[in-house]
Subunit: 145 residues, 2 copies
């Protein structure tokens, strides 16, 4: 008997679809609240809430994106008044990225929507099983990096 590959049952496909549903749901929540924010922009903001004034290089590194992606993501966020670029005091190559008053004030509301999305996703999932899932995801990241 042939053991056929089925896309639908594969780890890659399930991961991909679950991830996309979560990011789409978060995007929808932002939109429903009238916030012009994408989940990618939220990733950047969230890093700045943890530590304001990081370089683009650092933001790319910790978010595991390449620099061109972050460069343009930041362009869009500046257009929307979420962040600003400031020159590094001594190294002219470097841009330091800072939150604006506007985005600082929104931290709680944005964070609440992120947490809400995770709670919706994790609804009625056993806590131990969720923990195991998170560990597996960590290991996948280690394996592929």
């Amino acid at each position: 008997m042939k053991n056929k590959y089925l896309l639908e049952e594969s780890l890659g496909y399930k991961l991909f679809q679950a991830s996309r549903l979560m990011t789409n749901t978060l995007n929808r929540h932002f939109k429903e609240q009238g916030f012009l924010l994408t989940h990618e922009q939220w990733q950047i903001l969230s890093r700045l809430y943890e530590k304001d004034g990081q370089t683009q290089h650092e933001l790319a590194r910790i978010n595991e994106k390449d620099q061109p992606s972050v460069s343009r993501l930041i362009d869009n966020m500046i257009k929307r008044g979420l962040i600003v670029r400031k020159a590094h005091p001594s190294d002219k190559r470097i841009n330091l990225i800072y939150l604006t008053e506007c985005s600082k004030q929104m931290e709680e509301e944005y964070t609440a929507l992120a947490i809400q999305t995770i709670q919706e996703a994790a609804f009625e999932i056993d806590e131990k099983e969720l923990e195991i899932c998170l560990q597996v995801l960590d290991r996948i990241r280690v394996n592929l990096k």
Copy 2:
């Protein structure tokens, strides 16, 4: 003590990064073998290997994408000679999508790379824990759909 939200530790972020690593790895494998194929295109092909001659609407539905995305994805795949559009015999609205001789011949090689990617991702992960993770992913999809 304040229980702060940490992006890095969140389900959404871990899912997103693990998923992106898997799709990027699959893309890289295709490229290394000289195959002009993206993971999104592989999703479509894989569905056609299961059942040739599906409509765009059906392909969009089962892959959980919207129709415009599938329409343009199919445009690209036609350009690369992976599939063809054929008119439905009685309903002129409908395009039926068929594999080409070329893509039919590649099924085994493409599938091998998909399986290899999953094996790399799942390396040294306990089988029971992986199974739990897959179930959690299924439940996340149910919760958010």
